[in-house]
C-alpha cells in the first residue's frame, strides 16, 4: 500500500509539473495578435530555422514599430518541428488550440507542412508556407497558401531554362530521395523531354547520409551528358560538384533552389564555380522592394539575407497586410484576404496568390562566381 501511495504521489507531482509548465508556455497576452511560426529550430536542418527567425523577426519589428496591425502588436510563437513530421503534428496540435493564433506561417519541409496542414485545415486556421514547394500542397485546401512557387512551376521553369536558354540537348538528373527531390525531378524530366532535351538517366541519393558519389558519377561520366541536373541541397550539390570535377566529368551543373546557400561556395570550393541554379531571391536584384529589405536587414544583422529569410519576411508581411485589409481579427476574414493577395510587392518580388493557394513569380537564376553567389547573366 505504501508503495502504491508513493507511486501515485510521484505521478501527481510529475503531471502537475508538466501540465502547469505546458499551460504556462502556451499562454500569450490577449492584446497581441499571435502568428505561429513553424521552422526547424533544431535537428539536421536547424540552420534554416535560424534564417527564418531572422526574417520573421525583422518583419514583425517593422510592423510593430509602425503601430502594429489594427492597433495591436504582433507577437510570434515559434514551433520547432525539427524537420520531423511527427514533431510537426505535435506543435500543430499545440498551436491550433490557442485562440489568439490568427495564422500559421510555416514550415520549411513539405512533409512537415503537410502534417501541420492536417490540423490547421480542420481547425480552419489559415496557413501560409514560406518554403514548402511540394506540388501536394497545391489546391490542398482553401486554408493553405504559399508565397513560394511550387516545384511544379520551378521544375518546368528550370527545364525551360536548361532547354531553351542554355540549349542543352541531353541531361542526367540526380535527385535527393525526398518529397522535394523526387517530384521535382519527375516534373523536370517531363518538361525537358517535351522541349526536346533528352534525359539520359535519373538516379536518387539519400539526403544527409550520402557522402560518396563517385559511384554514380563514374557511371554518368560514361554517358557524357551535356549537363548534370542536381535536385537537392547545397551540401550534396557541393559534394557532387567536387567529385564530378575530380573524375573529369565537366558537364554544366544546373540545380534547383535547394542549392541556394552561402555555404555552397564554402563547401564546394573551386568545383562549384559556374554552376547555375534557381532561387526565389537574391540580394542584388534591382527590384526596389528587395533592396529596401536588404538594407534594413543589413542594418540589423550585418550580414546579407538568405533566400528563406526573405521568404519568411514576405510571408509575415502578407499575413499582416491581409489582416489590415480584412479590418478585423478573425481567422476566416484573414483567410479570405490572404487568398486575395495580388501583386504584393515584397522582398522576393511580386507575389500573387492564385485560387489554388499557389503563387507564380519569376525565379532568379543564380551562379557562383569567385566564391560568391551572383545572378546569372547569359
Amino acid at each position: 500500500m505504501k508503495r502504491l501511495i508513493k507511486h501515485v504521489v510521484v505521478c501527481i507531482i510529475i503531471f502537475s509539473a508538466v501540465t502547469l509548465y505546458q499551460t504556462g508556455a502556451a499562454f500569450a497576452e490577449s492584446d497581441h495578435i499571435i502568428f505561429g511560426i513553424g521552422a526547424p529550430m533544431t535537428g539536421p536542418i536547424a540552420q534554416y530555422g535560424e534564417l527564418v527567425k531572422q526574417g520573421a523577426e525583422l518583419a514583425v519589428d517593422e510592423i510593430n514599430a509602425a503601430g502594429g496591425v489594427l492597433g495591436k502588436k504582433i507577437s510570434l510563437m515559434y514551433g520547432d518541428d525539427k524537420g520531423d513530421p511527427k514533431e510537426a503534428s505535435i506543435i500543430a496540435s499545440k498551436f491550433c488550440t490557442n485562440k489568439d493564433m490568427i495564422a500559421f506561417i510555416g514550415t520549411f519541409n513539405s512533409s512537415c507542412t503537410l502534417a501541420i496542414a492536417n490540423y490547421t485545415m480542420k481547425y480552419k486556421i489559415p496557413l501560409i508556407t514560406y518554403s514548402s514547394t511540394s506540388p501536394k500542397l497545391t489546391g490542398l485546401s482553401p486554408y493553405v497558401f504559399r508565397n513560394i512557387v511550387s516545384d511544379k512551376f520551378q521544375g518546368e521553369y528550370l527545364a525551360e531554362f536548361t532547354a531553351r536558354k542554355l540549349g542543352k540537348k541531353n541531361a542526367v538528373i540526380l535527385h535527393e530521395n525526398t518529397d522535394y527531390g523526387a517530384p521535382f525531378a519527375e516534373i523536370f524530366k517531363a518538361k525537358a523531354e517535351e522541349l526536346g532535351t533528352k534525359v539520359l538517366y535519373v538516379d536518387k541519393f539519400n539526403l544527409g547520409t550520402t557522402t560518396d558519389f563517385t559511384g554514380i558519377l563514374t557511371k554518368v561520366k560514361s554517358m557524357a551528358p551535356d549537363c548534370l541536373i542536381v535536385i537537392g541541397m547545397y551540401r550534396e550539390a557541393s559534394l557532387i560538384a567536387q567529385q564530378a570535377r575530380e573524375i573529369g566529368l565537366d558537364s554544366q551543373i544546373v540545380g534547383g533552389d535547394g542549392l541556394l546557400s552561402e555555404k555552397l561556395a564554402e563547401l564546394g570550393g573551386k568545383a562549384v564555380e559556374g554552376i547555375i541554379f534557381s532561387g526565389p531571391f537574391h540580394h542584388e536584384t534591382s527590384n526596389p522592394a528587395t533592396q529596401k529589405f536588404v538594407e534594413k536587414f543589413k542594418a540589423k544583422y550585418n550580414i546579407v539575407p538568405a533566400g528563406v529569410t526573405a521568404q519568411a519576411y514576405d510571408a509575415v508581411k502578407i499575413v499582416a497586410e491581409a489582416i489590415v485589409r480584412a479590418g478585423k481579427i478573425d481567422r476566416e476574414a484573414v483567410r479570405l484576404e490572404i487568398s486575395k493577395t495580388r501583386d504584393f510587392d515584397g522582398a522576393t518580388g511580386k507575389t500573387t496568390i492564385d485560387d489554388k493557394g499557389d503563387c507564380s513569380k519569376d525565379l532568379v537564376m543564380l551562379t557562383v562566381k569567385d566564391g560568391k553567389i551572383v545572378q546569372f547573366k547569359k
Binding site: M1, T19, D80, C96, T97, N118, K122, K136, N206
Partner: protein
C-alpha cells in the same frame, strides 16, 4: 487485491491529466483562452499528448515482452510500428473497409515480420541480436522510403479516419479508444506473463541452458515473444496512422526505437505497469524539454546512462 491496486494505479495515471484539465477548464483564464469544443474535455493539446503516451505505452509494453521478459534486446522496434502503420494505411486506402479490419490486418502483418526477424534471433544472442534488430529497423525504413506503394519519401497521406465520429479536432474519441486498446493489451500481457508462456519467457531470460535441460523449446518461445511484441506494435502503428492521417518514414527512425526501449528501461524491464509509466514520463519529458532544443537529446542521453547504471530495474526498484 493486488490486481485491484494495479488497476487503480493505471486508471489514475490515465485519467489524471484529464481530471486536471477539467479542473483547469473552470478557471476563468482558461475559458477566455481556449476554445471549448465540448463540455468535458477542452484542452486538446494535453489530450493529444496523453493519446501519444498511450500509443507509446503499448509499444513499451511490447518491447518489455521481448526484452524485459524474454531477455532479447531489440533495437529495431520502430520497424514493427512502421510496418503496422503502413500496412494499415495502404490497406485502408486500397480497400475501404472498417477500421477494425485494418487494425487486425496491421497486427497480423507485423506479427509475420516479427517471426521473420525472430528466426535469425534464434541463433544470435545479446549484442549481435541487438545489432541485427537495428539493421532490420533501418532496412525496413529504407525500403519504405524507396518503394512506390508506401509513397516513398513523400509519405502517405489521406489515410481514412477511424470512423465518422472520430476527428482531429475532437481528440476525446481518440483518447477513449486508445485507453481501451491500452487496457486490453495490458491485461492480455499480464495474463500472458502469468501463464506458462510467460514463465517460459522468464526462464529463457534467466538461463537458456537450464531451459534446454528442462525441455523448454527455446526456439518456439523466442519466436512467440517476437510475434507477440510485433503484433502489439502493429496495432499501435495502425492506430497511429489512422489518427494522424499522414505518415512518413522519418517518423520511424532508430531514435524512436531507442525512445521506446528507454521507456521500458525507465519503468523497469520486467514490469508492465512500469512500461506505461515510462511511456508517460518520457513523452512528457520530451514535451517539457521541447523548448530546450538540442539540450533535450543530450539530457535524454544522460538520463539514460544514469538510469541504467543506478536503477537498471526501473526507477522504483532498488535492486
Amino acid at each position: 487485491m493486488a490486481t485491484f491496486k494495479r488497476f487503480l494505479f493505471i486508471v489514475l495515471i490515465l485519467t489524471f491529466p484529464l481530471l486536471y484539465g477539467k479542473f483547469y477548464e473552470y478557471s476563468s483564464e482558461f475559458l477566455e483562452k481556449y476554445e471549448k469544443i465540448n463540455n468535458f474535455l477542452a484542452y486538446d493539446y494535453l489530450i493529444k499528448m496523453v493519446v501519444q503516451c498511450n500509443i507509446y505505452a503499448v509499444l513499451a509494453i511490447s518491447v518489455n515482452v521481448i526484452t524485459g521478459f524474454c531477455g532479447q534486446l531489440t533495437l529495431g522496434h520502430a520497424a514493427f510500428w512502421a510496418i503496422g502503420a503502413y500496412a494499415s494505411a495502404i490497406f485502408a486506402i486500397a480497400y475501404k473497409l472498417p477500421f477494425v479490419v485494418n487494425f487486425a490486418f496491421a497486427g497480423f502483418i507485423s506479427m509475420f515480420f516479427g517471426v521473420v526477424i525472430g528466426i535469425p534471433a534464434l541463433r544470435l544472442t545479446g549484442d549481435y541480436l541487438a545489432i541485427t534488430t537495428l539493421a532490420f529497423g533501418e532496412i525496413v525504413r529504407l525500403v519504405i522510403m524507396n518503394l512506390e506503394i508506401t509513397g516513398g519519401a513523400l509519405g502517405l497521406k489521406d489515410i481514412p479516419e477511424i470512423g465518422s465520429w472520430f476527428s482531429v479536432t475532437d481528440p476525446k474519441s481518440f483518447y477513449y479508444l486508445s485507453v481501451i486498446i491500452l487496457m486490453v493489451i495490458y491485461y492480455t500481457t499480464v495474463r500472458l506473463i502469468k501463464s506458462k508462456v510467460g514463465r517460459a519467457f522468464i526462464a529463457i531470460r534467466e538461463d537458456e541452458i537450464a531451459c534446454m535441460s528442462l525441455g523448454i523449446n527455446i526456439s518456439r518461445y523466442k519466436l512467440a515473444a517476437f510475434a507477440v511484441a510485433a503484433f502489439y506494435a502493429g496495432l499501435a502503428g495502425s492506430f497511429y496512422a489512422h489518427m494522424e492521417g499522414y505518415i512518413h518514414p522519418d517518423q520511424f527512425q532508430f531514435m524512436d526505437s531507442v525512445y521506446i526501449l528507454a521507456m521500458s528501461v525507465l519503468g523497469g524491464l520486467g514490469s508492465l505497469k512500469g512500461s506505461i509509466l515510462g511511456a508517460f514520463v518520457i513523452t512528457f519529458l520530451k514535451e517539457v524539454l521541447r523548448d530546450f532544443q538540442s539540450m533535450q537529446m543530450v539530457i535524454f542521453g544522460v538520463i539514460l546512462i544514469i538510469l541504467i547504471t543506478f536503477r537498471p530495474r526501473g526507477i522504483f526498484n532498488k535492486n
